[in-house]
Amino acid sequence: MNPEDLKYHKEHTWARVSGKKATIGITDYAQNALGDIVYIDLPEVDANIEINSEIGEIESTKATSSIISPLNGRVIEVNEDLTETPETINEDPYGKGWIAIVEIDDVAEVNDLMDASEYEKYVEEEKK
């Protein structure tokens, strides 16, 4: 269910790496746990972001939650469409619901993140 080509962070964010760039977003598990998303506070373009740190916030009808960066880098683009239609994250978390594109500081670091099967196991553990 979680795409094989992505890398996953324990705070339920993902990264799709392509060269020195990565697209990031929140996982299907995260959007499901949050429920209907009503607002997203996006990171700012040009902001330097750090792994394990908050880069934005998501509000759903049930909860408010921090978006935690899966890597170190600099934001080069954000998905402005989400401002008007944050529910896209619920509908397509790995596609149109992407949050930001980041220039990665050190591509090698990405290998420390989980792959799809590791993340699935991790989520199963979380549920217990």
Partner: protein, 461 residues
Amino acid sequence: MKLVILGAGPGGYVAAIKSAQLGAQVIVIEDTEVGGTCLNKGCIPTKTLLATTELLHKTRNSGEFGIDISGQITPNLSKIMDRKNKVVSTQVRGIRSLFKSWGITLIEGRGKVISPDKIEVQKKDGSTDIIGADKIIIATGSRPAQLPLFPFDGEHVLSSDDALNIKSIPKTLIIIGAGVIGCEFAFIFSELGTDITMLEIMPRALSTEDPEISETLERELKKKKIKLMTGIKVTGVQSQLDGIHVYLEGGKEFVAEKLLVSVGRALNSDGIGLETAGIQKGPKGEITVNEKMETNIGGIFAIGDVTGGMLYAHVASREGIVAARNIAGADEKMDYSVVPSTIFTSPEIASVGLKEQQAIENGIKVKTGHFQFRAIGKAHVIGEITGFFKIVSDETSDRVIGVQIIGPHASDLIHEAALAIKTGLRTRDIAETIHSHPTLSEGMMEAAEDVHGEAIHVPKK
């Protein structure tokens, strides 16, 4: 007993009525209008404007509630101002008729204390009078503070007084000061369509509130596309052809049609005879009073904003009652331990008692409880789900020592907490009290339960 009161704001007029009820012969001197800042330039007119902008917001979002509206939805500023003026004048007439019914004499003019038993009045018709008094209460209030760098001109550089009487909706507005007044006006003007930039010297908006409250409010500002810059020092302001230029430390510059300066209040303690009468003032010009609201001069009392401290209408009114009772022979002291405060932003903010940080600084072992509005059914019913309740309790005694709320109707919800703190209730007492469903008040019960990790509508942690 003849009592003369300087100022008919929420301090002075309440003291007047209470004293009359207790049998005094009361004369009130007021140089603008009864009701003071609160009624004429503060609480009441701003909340009237806010009522309009809230309705405007709801009307614009009526589709969410299943109502189709066709045609343009446009605020009409002159009608909005007419309504505001009507609300104010109705209240003004109300106070005037209360004065009449209690036999209180209102003199329109400017009073000045000459001695503990004499007051000089410059009347509006130009004549001067000397009035004798057995006791005096000074309740002259405060006004918008002005910074020497950018004095108010009423046209481009506005005080909060000016902002209440604008003739057209500015396209762009810079607000210096993201405190209570600045934030309230930001939400009002934003809904009217003004593009707003707020500049705040402190690291966050509403810097005296709980940091979690500021954080939530700042997110709401962002949702409304109100720009907020914190930790900003303004170095200069200049009026040019294309608008007001505001210069910041570090060389940055902003331009807007108008500038609202909301950097606090200055006290009206000059020109009222304090020096002549020998009445003591503190460093900010505040009249020094004891807990009985007496100044250092026997027979002269002072209440409200002019005494500094908490600049709230409801504090001034209570001080007025305490002063009136003491003048009538009681021995009553003012108690400031439980003073609810409210901020009318969208959503509202309310607070009473100690904040978590204050309690920790006071050496109290603190336990807190939180509850989100979005977990309350009624919040979804009314379509306003942002915000939370926060209860601060003393871990040892379980007593409620402070509550902060940001969310719909926070200003009404806070009083359950005020009563709880005033009467020494424990969080258990709130948690074990059945709260009606479906109401927003359920949030207080659940926040109290959350202090013990027992809230029902919170997922397992």
